[in-house]
């Protein structure tokens, strides 16, 4: 089962990742990462209702409305990587997801199945402008979330 990530609040998740980028200490477990994100979201929104839970039936860590990570163990470790002059990190797509997505793309291109790849709307809103357009800061945070958790579908 491939690990899948579903970002539902790109700006909030991206802002949390941006904070971790410069943090001296980062959570060493996925549980710590999710609980830290929940606390960050509570603080950002001024609420105390957001919580991270592990849904054993789906092998998923989940924060409602914010982020889901499927196919992971409850006690999964969290590892953070960045490029360095001596080491470039190349994150490859999950082979299973890649194959599935390739099949979908071919089907879409040939009209064999109605639809198109789902793309989060913040890109469209940013380019189009108007009432829903995010600020530049919000767009930056959203992009951080998208490319950090992006996967090939």
């Amino acid at each position: 089962m491939p690990v899948e990530m579903n970002v539902m609040s790109h700006q909030l998740v991206g802002a949390w990742l941006a904070r971790l980028t410069t943090a001296e200490k980062r959570p060493e477990t996925l549980a710590g990462f999710m609980e830290g994100l929940a606390a960050y979201v509570n603080n950002a929104l001024g609420v105390e209702t957001i919580a991270a839970t592990y849904v054993a039936a789906r092998n998923a860590w989940r924060i409602p409305g914010v982020l889901e990570i499927f196919g992971v163990a409850e006690d999964a470790a969290a590892v953070y990587v960045s490029h360095a002059p001596e080491q470039v990190v190349i994150r490859l797509p999950d082979p299973e997801l890649l194959a599935e997505s390739r099949n979908l793309a071919v089907a879409f291109d040939h009209g064999g199945r109605s639809g198109e790849f789902y793309v989060d709307r913040f890109y469209y809103d940013y380019i189009r402008g108007g009432d829903y357009a995010p600020s530049n800061s919000a767009f930056l945070d959203s992009r951080i979330a998208d490319y950090t958790f992006a996967q090939c579908r």
Binding site: E4, N6, M8, S9, L45, G46, V47, E48, T49, I50, T53, P64, G65, V66, E68, F108, G111, S114, G115, E116, Y118, D120, R121, Y124, R128, D131, Y132, R153
Partner: protein, 515 residues
Amino acid sequence: MHPTLRRSLPLSLWPDARDAALPADPPEGFRNILGAGAAPDCARWRGVGSMLETERMLEALAFRLIRGPAREGGAGFPAGYAYFAQFVTHDLHFSTDPEFYPRRDVPHVPWRRRRLRLDSIYGEGPEDAPYLYGEGVGQLADWRLRIGRFGPGPIPRLTVRPRAGCPADPRAPQCGVDERNDENPVVAQLAGLFMRLHNRALDRLTAYGDPAERFAAARAVTEATFRRLVFDDLLPRLLRPDVRARYEREGALDEPFAAQTDDMPVEFTHAVSRVGHALVRADYAVGRTVNDGHAVNVAYMLRHTVKRDPEAFRKGRLWRVDWPAFFGPEAQAADPFEPHVSVFFAEAPGLMPGDAAARTRAHLVLRDLARGMEGGVQTVTATAAGFARRLGREAGSARWLALNPLRRAGAMARWIGADARLAPWRRALALDPPLYLFTLVEAAAPAAAGGGDALRLGALGSALFAEPLYAARALNGDAAAAARSDADGTVVFDGAPPRTMDALAALFSPASSGG
């Protein structure tokens, strides 16, 4: 203030209208329940005197309702029923907002006779509102409800997707006749579901030769199916079983008044029907075409209608709702009935045109509370007194929060707890809470205290929700027509009619050949 924004705000939130004294009178078109007009001043909620000071208290309350702790777990029913309830409340109080429904189109039919009749999709019928009709080809096309499309889509051979709305016709409102049914993609596509049911009935009732008679028969089947789903599927999920049983046996107390006037009781429109906002989830898995079937944030979901994002829909975005995610055994659950509204929903941008809700302090929950204040809703004590003889006959009702002021004050005080923001109004709120808030606290209370165990409305909330529905059924039910529609229904449904929303939706699933 921008005129559109001003229109969308409760009166009390207009900066120049905050010093008005309370209690307010029910606005034009509304009344207090169990009466033909306004209840006496002493029976209507007056908050803490002026609108200005009361609004401060409501702000603190709204803050608590959004930001306070929420309990784990869902309501006792699938998420789609919150939206079905929304669709039903629209049907009960058919909108004649002149912006969307020109005065010249408003007919001389008493509104009270139009409740639970699906006027929110039929409008004035194919002869008087032809722009709502015209689906398919052939002699019957003008008698079929026109169904909006997702599309044309990026692929020429793309299968068109049903949804409510007729955006291709500039004379037509964008979502059938009632623009409110384009508030979010779920309620919009629920409207589309009933439109498709009508069209299916029309196509199958071949025994009727005259198109007008065939239309009437198809509408009768559609209406009967809708009413059956309201009373046999929706209400058992929303109401306490004992209260619902009482209404099934005895009907609505408000019926004599509902028969006299078109005005709607504000205790329903401005209080109990709004507590459904607590059922809205932080996220929804909408369908296969949306985010690969994974959930999306509710604020993001809400905007995916023609009304909220017309440009995107002209480009053919696919936002088809997969009904098994909303109705049936595999569906995601609604949030629990409790005094809490998801922050993502309450402050969702796009709820108010051209404005971010948070910037105006007029987020959804504050607007809910303010509408109750300015709508002249009765106090909990006065409202409960009107139902005391009915509810008081149930076993254990002496302990119910609605009927026992001491217990009610205790429950309210416990909910307020040590919240410093609410401290200045702790006593006022404990003794005389807004009906909207009490309905939520009552719903979250144990069943033995007259509550709903966070699974459904409590005793008073159930009675208030039941009233206009049972009154409408009594006023508009026609036994002869119902019997005829039952016979026709067997033709339309190849047997027994659907008794649950998932059974109705299954008729139009991609796997079904009958749609």
